[in-house]
């Protein structure tokens, strides 16, 4: 993991480059000392200059927790899917796709999950989402 750097917040955080994420993910699950088989939270945060994907992983055998973060470019957010490794990511990634506009490569079925038809591309949870009718800027 050449480009990873570590931080200590509530749990150990690892920042990786988004191109190296798939290799790291597979070894995190399969390595017998690590054995991270339970992905319990997958989300994205919109810092106004870039997006950050956040993955919270836990091992049911060793009971350690790891947080992996990956920075994405705001204009072209693109990352490999992990739904082949952790099946729960399928629904979570669909939600991140519709809320933030992040495209997941090789996802089996990337389409809108929660938003109604016609909301592709609107990305409501981004900070620059404009909706003058409903949103009151406080």
């Amino acid at each position: 993991m050449p480009s990873a750097n570590f931080e200590e917040q509530q749990w150990l955080n690892v920042n990786v480059d988004h191109n190296e994420w798939p290799g790291l993910a597979k070894s995190l699950r399969d390595h017998p000392d690590l054995n991270f088989d339970y992905l319990f939270c997958l989300t994205c945060i919109d810092w106004k200059t870039h997006l950050t994907m956040v993955y919270h992983l836990e091992s049911t055998q060793h009971r350690h927790i790891l947080v992996v973060k990956s920075k994405l470019d705001r204009t072209q957010p693109d990352i490999e899917t992990v739904s082949g490794i952790w099946r729960t990511a399928e629904f979570h990634e669909r939600e991140v796709y519709e809320m933030f506009g992040v495209k997941f490569r090789n996802h089996p079925d990337l389409r809108l999950l929660i938003l109604p038809d016609g909301w592709e591309g609107k990305s409501p949870l981004r900070k620059d989402f404009e909706d003058p009718v409903n949103m009151v800027k406080l």
Partner: protein
């Protein structure tokens, strides 16, 4: 004229209580005695007067009054709960606050057999066409109750939400609104009784607009 002598087998719930004030209360909902001093039709119970004849009696009334009385006492609600208010609706249907005492016995799952739709819960943009379609599938005469703050005006989700319809009356016309988040079962019962009163007086939207 006193009807109770003509029909001795009819139960007179007001007559069992010896307390005078209890008799006053029971008259308006259960009594078969006509009350000439009552000015509102719903105060007199069954609308109409019985003209006694040796072989029974002739009922003299207005057809509209009888139809409204019959319709209001047997409204069948549609099972339509989207969120938290649905649990209070289920509580109202259960044994402690029973709504089948008032005629809402059968809660149908299909709109084609239902009379009243109780919108219990938030209506969001994706659900609004479904609600409209359900309302269209109901047969006339149909009534609508908006239960809870979300169905009345958007409720706690009024500000800064991009997907909530701020009030169910943006989609379908509503007859009775209930406040509360969620409203107590007694509030829902009060709203159901208010709807019954409204129907008896002929003031629902559907009756005014002509049917």
């Amino acid at each position: 004229m006193d009807v109770s002598q003509e029909f001795p087998s009819n139960p007179q719930p007001g007559a069992e209580k010896t307390d005078a004030s209890a008799q006053e209360e029971n008259k308006s909902y259960h009594s078969f005695q006509t009350n000439a001093a009552a000015t509102r039709p719903e105060d007199s119970g069954f609308p109409g007067r019985v003209h006694p004849t040796p072989s029974g009696g002739i009922l003299v009334t207005a057809i509209d009054d009888v139809i409204n009385w019959a319709r209001s006492n047997s409204l069948w609600p549609l099972v339509f709960g989207t969120s938290c208010c649905a649990i209070e609706m289920m509580s109202t249907a259960s044994a402690k606050y029973d709504w089948s005492r008032f005629g809402f016995e059968v809660a149908r799952a299909t709109p084609r057999q239902a009379d009243v739709i109780i919108i219990a819960g938030t209506i969001v943009n994706k659900m609004a066409p479904v609600l409209k379609r359900l309302y269209d599938q109901m047969a006339d005469p149909k009534y609508v109750i908006a239960m809870g703050a979300c169905a009345t005006s958007g409720g706690p989700f009024f500000y800064n939400t991009y997907s909530v319809v701020k009030g169910a009356d943006h989609v379908i016309p509503v007859d009775v609104y209930i406040a509360g988040c969620p409203p107590r079962p007694e509030a829902l019962l009060h709203a159901l009784i208010t709807l019954q009163d409204k129907i008896k007086r002929g003031l629902t939207k559907e009756q005014i607009n002509g049917s």
